[in-house]
Subunit: 230 residues, 2 copies
């Protein structure tokens, strides 16, 4: 699995910073199954798939959208690789439940199908979507997600802005509130960082460190290049 | 009703900027019923009520916490005024459902009981909590809320930060995504702004304008001092 904080880094094209990694990760893959359920800005599945197709063409991979299949479960079972992009995590999870594909996706990933998730598509690799930053624009049947990682992801992790006068909660405050009600550790993944998960090994990639939160403990930084067991 | 974007403005004490308004609004009220369910930073009901008691003492009002009553419904029915403060909207709504007090609260507010809501306590005055900025740290039974207003509130509304390199969604993008799936208009209430709702009249107070969002329309500013019918 490749689990990235964001699809796009500032000043760069969609997915471009991940291409070197994806070329290697997808070396044996011809076609990627794209799941466009998160609909960033509310764009259609067709439009989101078109944009993604154009991006993957740059590393010579085909893309098909899951909505083009009559049976989404079969599409997942037969996929060589699966990519879920960013957008709204509530709507993504809502559609994953409505199409009843979460358990089959977990099964094929456990059996070795390559998975790429950015932003919302990364959030759902954790135990739950309870550490998303997104707005609850729809009510999904549950907040539980793939659970391929034994912790939760906070994508687009931001440090507090220096000199901010805004009184809304900082990201760290929000995660602290999560830990009043939940035990699951949280990895704050900054933009430009990603996890490479091979078997039981999780490695932090990219230039930045990530921030690790556990209940009743002071959060700490995990350095890029660190490996931690699943 | 007094529905405020935030309890606290930068550089000022808890609730202090609202005291002139609250002195008038609560002129016939001796004791305010406080609902501490939103637990900012995960603080206890006791601690949150203590802080609120100290603040209201400055305008010579008593405060009692709803958790001090055996029957929360009766506490609401008998209250002279109700205040719900900020924190996490998901946990607030979760507890309002668990204690089954939403419908009785709607009833007493419709019948004239004074209500003050800041931040999360303001969000729940709308049709749903679907335009909260908070993290979904618990799974409430529903996202529907009081519906005392015919629109939703987005508290702590922020304009896009100039020169930001962060790729997470802006507030305006999030509300636009909400309108792909929902028809309810949204009022983006900036910190320092509040609504005074008397009968069917809603008036925007404070120094700043607010931002009004409807599906398929360009958002526009509502000037401070404007009145709009409920």
């Amino acid at each position: 699995m490749i689990i990235a904080s964001t699809s796009t880094i500032y000043g760069s094209d969609y997915l471009a910073y991940l291409f070197p990694e994806l070329r290697i990760f997808l070396r044996d893959v011809k076609t990627v199954l794209f799941i466009p359920y998160a609909r960033p800005n509310g764009i259609s599945y067709t439009e989101y798939t078109r944009i993604t197709k154009n991006a993957f063409a740059k590393i010579s991979k085909e893309v098909v959208g899951i909505h083009q299949f009559e049976n989404p479960k079969e599409a997942i079972e037969q996929a060589q690789a699966i990519f879920i992009g960013g957008g709204n995590t509530f709507e993504l999870v809502n559609q994953l439940y409505k199409n009843d594909v979460l358990s089959v996706m977990k099964k094929v990933i456990d059996n070795g199908t390559s998975y790429i998730g950015t932003s919302a598509g990364g959030n759902i690799c954790g135990v739950s979507m309870m550490t998303t930053n997104d707005m609850p624009i729809v009510y999904p049947p549950s907040f539980f997600t793939l659970g391929c990682l034994p912790f939760n992801i906070n994508a687009h992790f931001m440090d507090p802005l220096p000199n901010s006068t805004h009184m809304g909660e900082t990201r760290e405050t929000r995660i602290k509130e999560f830990h009043v009600f939940n035990e699951t550790p949280v990895l704050g993944l900054r933009e430009g960082s990603w996890l490479r998960v091979i078997g039981n090994t999780i490695k932090l990639e990219g230039n930045l460190s990530a921030r690790w939160f556990q209940p009743n403990q002071i959060p700490h930084e995990i350095e890029s290049g660190s490996e931690f067991g699943n």
